[in-house]
Symmetry: C2
Subunit: 307 residues, 2 copies
Amino acid sequence: MTSTPAYDPSLLTGLSAFPLTPLTGETLDEDSYTGLIERLVLAGVDSITALGSTGSYAYLDTEERARVAQLTVDSALDIPVLVGVGALRARDVLTNVRSAEDAGAQGLLLAPVSYQPLTEDEVFELFRTVADSTDLPIVVYDNPGTTHFTFTTELYARLAALDGVASIKIPGFPLSPAGWDERIGEIRAAVGNEVTIGISGDAHGAEGLIAGCDAWYTAVGGTVPEPLLEITRAAELGNADQARELSAGLQPLWDLFAEFGGSLRVSAAIAEHLGLVGADSLPLPVRDLDASAKRKVAEVADHLDLG
Amino acid sequence: MTSTPAYDPSLLTGLSAFPLTPLTGETLDEDSYTGLIERLVLAGVDSITALGSTGSYAYLDTEERARVAQLTVDSALDIPVLVGVGALRARDVLTNVRSAEDAGAQGLLLAPVSYQPLTEDEVFELFRTVADSTDLPIVVYDNPGTTHFTFTTELYARLAALDGVASIKIPGFPLSPAGWDERIGEIRAAVGNEVTIGISGDAHGAEGLIAGCDAWYTAVGGTVPEPLLEITRAAELGNADQARELSAGLQPLWDLFAEFGGSLRVSAAIAEHLGLVGADSLPLPVRDLDASAKRKVAEVADHLDLG
């Protein structure tokens, strides 16, 4: 691609923080939500991605999602806001695109959420439909643990060739540093230099950035941004050893994710412990960790001085 | 459990047919839908389950689902109607329960649809919440290929002990007849005799019924009920050899499911070939089979004299 992107290419680099979307009962807890956004603004994150998996997008209806998009943009001051627009049905994806545009979002995150397993062509056509419908840059959201769709590197390449696709959010893997170099090199060769690559899976953020990822799309960084920003800045300055050391210092946090089924319930427990959200802030049937697990999370949060 | 069920125990036995929910563009194709229901009534199925996976429930909003539930009951004459009420969010499940009740459904089908992986306790609490909210009997819908939740036999037993849980819909597996006997015996021991066991996975229906399943929850039987009713009646009469022979005669149909990623797109292609629904009746991003695959489906449908 030789055309000039219609957006600032730095938009999809650095640390993008994924806030929780706390509920009270079945209702959006707007005060807590804007508190989370203000916290990210104060920390100086590079962008905020509302309505990622951590933001429970898949559980919210189109009206709730429009409201969250607007609250985010209204609270984010000059920090760019990306909005997750994925949904099981393409019709609802397009509705979410319109509400994100109306809110003033600067970019979109799109996951191929599936119930019936989707084919590569179906996923490609979904992204093409969205890209044709908006001028906002699109982050391709690869998260097989939740969407149950597995991207191939070839599909990354097909999507990267679409006008509008601006970044690929890849899942973390337990690879060696050399393994990360190889994997990121392979993706870079497939998607070119005008599409950024962002790592997710918080335990793997440091290695991903060191291996050449442009961005860290971080779940727990939406709740405790500072330690993840430190790692990001170290990696951006080329201080690989420092980035690794900082990430290793957070190992008790990464261990919690492994023990308690991922980052969502742990992030909610940290946010509750820090007084940022209430108990039972997740959308049922998803539930809080039990009391004993919450105590363990609180101990780790205190030990690591999170928040 | 010694209490008398509040429903006719024969409700959740025999052949329950799962119709497609055809769309025209993004709009429910009501005429085609009621045509599909009338066809099932004429065939004499034992029950109709609207809004199963084959009925694209996961893609429809609560208003669309209320409408489909009502259309089904209104068209089904004296055939009992079950309605799928699953949704990612518990709030929406309960809304669907209310609309199914309002429509006059005689039972509910509930799948633990997941985006964030759910724990056993979260799934149990979802079923308990629904069972506490309705007097209608509930079919537990185990379909890991779409819901991405895997039931244990122990969880079947916990759920079967809930007042209101009346049937377990189990996925099909490629087991030997002896393997099926063992598996169904194991489930029967776990759930007791007052909860029916229903087989799904159409290629495995005959073996499941022969091994003692009480019901066949059939996807393609929502589109071509007669040949599946023949198998069901043979098994019910104890004619295992005949049931197996009839199922083996449909092997070209089972092979299509294996080749084309399951029964949904194949069922839609058969329905289109038979003039029951239009092209592109599935909810985007799910698409029709391509032209060459549709030709193959049409050839098999003609060869087997389906419809």
